[in-house]
Symmetry: C2
Subunit: 568 residues, 2 copies
Amino acid sequence: MRQSQLFMPTLREVPADADVKSHQLLLRAGFIRQNAAGIYSFLPLGKKVLHKIENIVREEMNRAGSQEMMMPALQLAELWHESGRWYSYGPELMRLKDRHDRDFALGATHEEVITSIIRDEVKSYKKLPLNLYQIQTKFRDEKRPRFGLLRGREFIMKDAYSFHDKQESLDETYETMKDAYSAIFSRCGLNFRAVLADSGAIGGKDNHEFMVLSEIGEDLIAYSTESDFAANIEMAPVVLKEEASSESPLELEKVETQTAKNIDDVSVFLNVPASKIIKSLLYMADGEPVLVLVRGDHEVNEIKLKNELSASEIVMASEEDAVKWLNTKPGSIGPVSVSDVKVIADQAVPLMANAVCGANEEGYHFVNVNADRDFKIDQTADLRFVVEGDLSPDGKGTIIFAKGIEVGHVFKLGKVYSEPMKAQYLDENGKNQIMSMGCYGIGVSRTLAAVAEENNDENGLIWPLSLTPFEVHLIAVNSKNAEQSALSDELYEQLKSEGYDCLYDDRPERAGVKFTDSDLIGLPIRVMVGKKAGEGIVEVKIRKSGESYEVPVSELKSVLKREWDKLV
Amino acid sequence: MRQSQLFMPTLREVPADADVKSHQLLLRAGFIRQNAAGIYSFLPLGKKVLHKIENIVREEMNRAGSQEMMMPALQLAELWHESGRWYSYGPELMRLKDRHDRDFALGATHEEVITSIIRDEVKSYKKLPLNLYQIQTKFRDEKRPRFGLLRGREFIMKDAYSFHDKQESLDETYETMKDAYSAIFSRCGLNFRAVLADSGAIGGKDNHEFMVLSEIGEDLIAYSTESDFAANIEMAPVVLKEEASSESPLELEKVETQTAKNIDDVSVFLNVPASKIIKSLLYMADGEPVLVLVRGDHEVNEIKLKNELSASEIVMASEEDAVKWLNTKPGSIGPVSVSDVKVIADQAVPLMANAVCGANEEGYHFVNVNADRDFKIDQTADLRFVVEGDLSPDGKGTIIFAKGIEVGHVFKLGKVYSEPMKAQYLDENGKNQIMSMGCYGIGVSRTLAAVAEENNDENGLIWPLSLTPFEVHLIAVNSKNAEQSALSDELYEQLKSEGYDCLYDDRPERAGVKFTDSDLIGLPIRVMVGKKAGEGIVEVKIRKSGESYEVPVSELKSVLKREWDKLV
């Protein structure tokens, strides 16, 4: 396409309210414009990238056996009442009334709609499993839209839903979707991890978020230095690497510790490392007291604790509860002699010897505390947060932390929607059963932003070949020069005929403006027709490496082929 | 794709509330499902057709130099206030508030949004013209949604907008868009006309609706038997074919006509044909009286009358006005001796000789009335509705009427939006000017329905090759028969490798069910593997012609190629 005709309004200045790179550059390079807070238009360059992402998503979803469909944005409130989400979803769900005063939701997600379709149309196990997807505009009224396309109020999502008679069938589709997602994000050139995430109230371990590693990510993930293991830090299991202490048990002793209460103070006061102190915390789990023990240098992971206790709610005990159950205030709590309260300890605690803990008496601690001899443990489990340097649970490498941008999510819903909405089928024996479901989402416009966020330098965007809006940027350095202009025109036709999607800067602008714009929009390969046009020599520049060199026109075809192959 | 895995819920019964063929068949064949009144989901087959239409639209729009972009559905109310449409658009515009209580419209159309973008980004004539389009979901809260996808509340539209500095540039783009639209609808296999339509308050003659000729159409169009001339019946010009009467003028005479008032009564009473009677009607045009004359066998076209008078409002005069200006009641009105009221006559009136007209006196008519001698005509113009048999205005053929479904619309907006919204540019002389605009819409989902409406028989849909969801329907007549099943599997692989998008009915259903479903979904070419599988013989059937014949497997490739070429 001739750039003189392209609607590509570039900006020299960094827009004031754009605070991350991708937002700044997509605005500056004329890929997007904001229409309202969190609401954007995709200009031609942005739309072309969006298309390429959508096509990759479509190809991989189709290959994985998912079928494309298209559901409406306007959703009857009745469906959301059936699932119970009309009230629980909160103000993020945009709502409106039609001219007949009927309530509608503006599609934030489509579990309700797809479930209503499938329950009406699928009555037999013979028609299962099914896996259906759509690529569609979604609406979520974020309280604080930010980071441009990364957290908007209207955005493009691919959402897929699967329906199953058997758990194994759901498991199989889940794995297929995970593989498809890996293929999609790989093809988009992203550095991502499939991260084990918390399933919340829904339960089950099969819930992965696809995270692009990024400094601006809002989620913290723990991943392995050497394998593809990755988990939300709340979810990362800790592999016990400590062995039992070889110290001989010494005599239990109660010592005065004055005002020292927290781990740091006690550590200093008694001159013992935090790792020799037992951190003792009283929780109320569904109203029952539970004494939780972890090592002083570890932090209790309440999600693990809650899952381990199979509790629906856990809260730190109040001062009143502490006094009631342990006869002391928080800050002096310890496990010694506790019998009426359940004691649950992190797996590292039984390995400690001659440890320090609170004495359930203000101003005192016990030293030389040893499990079994001095206190009971009712249950041992992995209760702490993972830390950097921990072993990777798969045995390969150690854990490091990074921030991530969530671009995809696969989730075993089970019967959370199919049960209240009565999505039933007849099984082999003619008995009514409730379907199991999975759901699988990709933030399509967010992926665009994530790619922009991870692929840029101080001069602008750097598109991977798979997503670039145009493949080759042909620049007539001085369009007013007849020789340059003629050769450029000729090369434009040649590049098109060779199958390149070519953007041809034929504008009557200064060379500096053209190069600045070219760097900004970031096409992978640039061909510049300048002063040596008369000699039949042009310059090729690779956006990513910055490498540039002169090429005789006669060799351009083979040079571009070579550079192309390097970039693929 | 294997049909056993395809989500394609077919229905045997005609759905009760579906009253046109396309709606019935798209539901029955499992292409769509209704989610709420006027709101539909596209199931996999429907989505595939939609995709093909979208791709045709995209290809032709790109070829015509339009650039694809994507604007949001959520539109700030402020923009609609600027254009004045927040109040004038009425309840069809769906509205909602966000969590901060700001008003938004749900995009029914995007003139406001695109104009706001262009006025912010384009400041110079050097950046014009621009032509931008999007393919997007639109929302219009129709009072009575009906005919399935033909008049829904949420639907898919291609809308394009062009911006210009010069009228000639707008004219050129308008013609380019008209050509692109013709290409698009031709490729969709539709029998359509580009129909001249009324521009309403906006003025200008450049407003064409693309109409598919259809009995269920809601608009009446007049088109030529021999050329591509077509116009909304309100807009079709009448070419004068009559010559002046050769009769010698007889003496003016006032006759008693008792209670005969309307044309039919007077015609019978005086035994003269309606074509010899002058129909005289008093209108008030912007408050001024105008006496309008047409031949008794013609009907006044008020749109032509209004345009001819350059009036902003015309109404038939009340009895009081008739008495006031002509001293008689409506029913006895005539032009003889009228001097204080403007007289405007259809072009056929001055050609009449010895005509009959009201005498401005109840119970009387004049006979042997002749223009000029007996009454004045201040203005002559084409004021009547076209009728079947009139000459086509382009001189080729005669006019016939048909009903049409509007699938596209091209419109020169001029400055209707750019003026109030201040979309300005600097011209060559550095002077501020207001841009001219065009807008160009295609109902994408409506086009799907129009194609279905026009391509079916009593057994189901009949897809044109360009839009068919799958190209070849391979049917294993009896999947439980090992020979048939093996040959079918083999042919499925073969057809795929030959590049056909093949639907393979591998279901363990009875042959009758398979054939019924196959007719219903209407793929163009069917290959049936039945009892002669063992002999290597299959049956080919063409959906449209119903023609079927046996083919040895070895010849299948060439037979399909031949049938394909016939269908293209």
